[in-house]
Amino acid sequence: MSAPLLFNPLRRMRTVLSLGILGGVAILAACATKDNKGISATSSDTTAPPGTTASTTTAGANMTGATAPTGPGWGIPAAADWTTQGRDYANTRYSPLATIDTTNAADLRIAWTFDDGVLHGQEGTPLVANNTMYIVTPFPDIAYALDLTKPGAPIKWVYRPNPAPIAIGKACCDVVNRGWQLADGKLIYNLLDGHTVAVDAATGKEVWRTQVYDVTQGVTMTMAPLIVKDKVLVGNSGGEMGVLGSLTALDLKTGRIVWQATSTGPDSLVKIGSDFKPFYKWMQGKDLGVTTWPAGAWKNGAGAVWGWITYDPDLNLIYAGTSNTGPWNADQRPGLNLWTSGVFARNPDSGMARWAFVFTPHNQWDYDGVNENILVNVPYKGQTRKVMVQFNRNGFAYMIDRATGEVLSAKPFGHENWASGIDSVTKMPIVVPEKETKVPGHWVRDICPADIGVKDEQPAAFSPQTGLFYVPVQNICMDYKGRKVSYIAGTPYWGADMTRHVGPGGNYGEFIAWNPVTGEKVWGIPEKFLVYSGVLVTGGDLAFYGTVDGWFRAVNARTGKVLWSQKLGSGIIGAPMTFIGPDGHQYVSVLAGVGGASMVTQAMPGFPARGGTLYTFELAPNIKSVDETPAAGMSTVSKKPGAKP
């Protein structure tokens, strides 16, 4: 059952739980809510302290009672902390902290900042445990631990992995790192050059380093690992480089590779065995990862696993999507091209697939399937169904039974015109013929969305209090021309020429609230620039997001009213988080530094310059002016006659 949070022991408990998290994922799991009633059930005790949700007794009570979706709530760290990118195994990005709420969000001010010195896209979420904040820069993938117990959060340690510079030229879309994780006393993350590293979280000393992929073949790593039990799960990038996409499990203690499962190829490589039960007939059969391709084309068919992984401990299944199909020019690869542009449910112990679903078979538009799968439980036709929700690049929000792979609903959540709907039997998209891109050398005009989708990798959030998803949405279209392309290892295997333009209404971005039960947008906030940040939602009913032109906003999660906005130094493409500092106050942190795929709009007037700054906010009344003036002796020294300023 849930761990009640008591008032005074909060800080002590936070420390204990933090140690538990750093001491092993098994302890972390023991702290988690297991009752499927939602995250806010952890704070149902009426003596709950400030900083947690005080009065919610059942998940979704403020919404519609039994008809509201709930978060399953596994893997939740102590309320004060944030130890994996999605905060919990279900990737809800929901924190129960509620000191900062709809009544005082307007008082948020910058408490301190930290410049990581790297001018590339900052796509990750800062982590906090043991009074320490952890961030990792884009290439060269430097890790910083910041000491939250001291004014201004100074550097506690720095770890410089020195990855191979070759990797810079193999990454399609900036040299980003999407996230890092804390487990077993280690900070674990991927390097752009195809290595995974584990660093002692207390000292910054490297514990192990494993080469998982060969960067000279065009394979890079940009995704955030997920640690499940004793395994570190990582995947590759290179959907535009003709890579063989795969998901790899490493041993948490040693970094040794335990299993690897490809996204295309024979069943033996894909790890499809007798347990594999895809729901739909067209995905049933032997070696479909070979037979749905022209001879041999699966070897360069991509299906890179560069997005987010989620985990259901009850079903013992992990969920990880596969990237676009390679090359983009679909004329060179007739067939359904399985298992690219889809998602696998796999057993984390063995890697064996349980089911798969392909969102965009024979993908002609670069609609990857790698977006985060958020796990919730929803009322559906009188039953509670365990589902995952994915806001896919192709513009449809899929709600899929996560035990069986059955698609319960698929509704457009933004502007798309390439498919008129989803077939009610096969769940394949019904493609609009004039938006097919097959004939190379022929421009196809105004396909919506563009390659980067109605939503890209930037993660949405789910609040068990409101029962709503909070989703960054893109309103971008393209003119597209297929190009004949040859595979040359280590160079792009791309095969497309394109231009992009804004969709109807002229706003590139929108931030929306989405009701998964009805499959409808509840409210939306249009933004002139792309909304390419991840999302945080809190027990204070605040949703936080950022824009590519650098506005960081707090929104009433129920009404969509913007309560506070702060302009940051560069565009925001990372995901915000919240934590309780050693002083007991709630803070909100986000990285600002434009880059990644948001650069496709860089020709817009007013597009910001690169940056690499971590911003931390707290309520203005709590911000103390800290006496950090130098000691008297030092001050005397600096005033010596002749001393230069």
């Binding site: 030229g169 190009r483 392309v485 040859s486 595979y487 160079t491 791309w494 095969g495 020429d497």
Partner: protein, 199 residues
Amino acid sequence: MTIRRIFVRRFSHVTRLATGLSCAFTIALSISACSGAPEKIAAGGSGPVGLPPDSLMQLVALGDIAGGHPNTLTVQIKNPYEGSIAAADAGRQQFIDMNCAACHGYDGRGGMGPNLTDTYWRYGGSPASIYNSIYQGRPDGMPAWGRMIPRDDIWKLVTYIQSLGGSFPASLAESGRQGNLGDKDTTAGATLKGRQNDH
């Protein structure tokens, strides 16, 4: 075209190339003697001649020269195909076939790799410097193509890149190295729509 076919075609070129280096070291001493010749020779079908030899290209400094000496080689070594429309066309086809376009953009204005239509050249924008960047590769992303593309085809790629307008003719090489060119259009008649010095 399949890769296999590209290989066959390329390497048959290389064989021919080996016998056709008549201008060889004359280039180092008197560039002008050879500079007008290639198009005529190429058109005549007798195989490429007049390419600056490898031994000379290896002497082209990547950075500035210690002691503050002027870098004369980048000024002296001209593209043997400079101004040849046929060579620029052939280079454009190479640019697509060898996946250069996928990194640098079908319009050369950048993508995964840098913009080739502006005057910012991290590794030098003179013909000799561009040739070397293609031949040797560069450590932050550019693969070395010297073993895959014959030298005369690399010079044709250089010709195409020069036609995009951002590179420097040899005569402006020193000026470009000093940073004097700014956003100047260094190629007569080039159209530099939307040129961005964004790296």
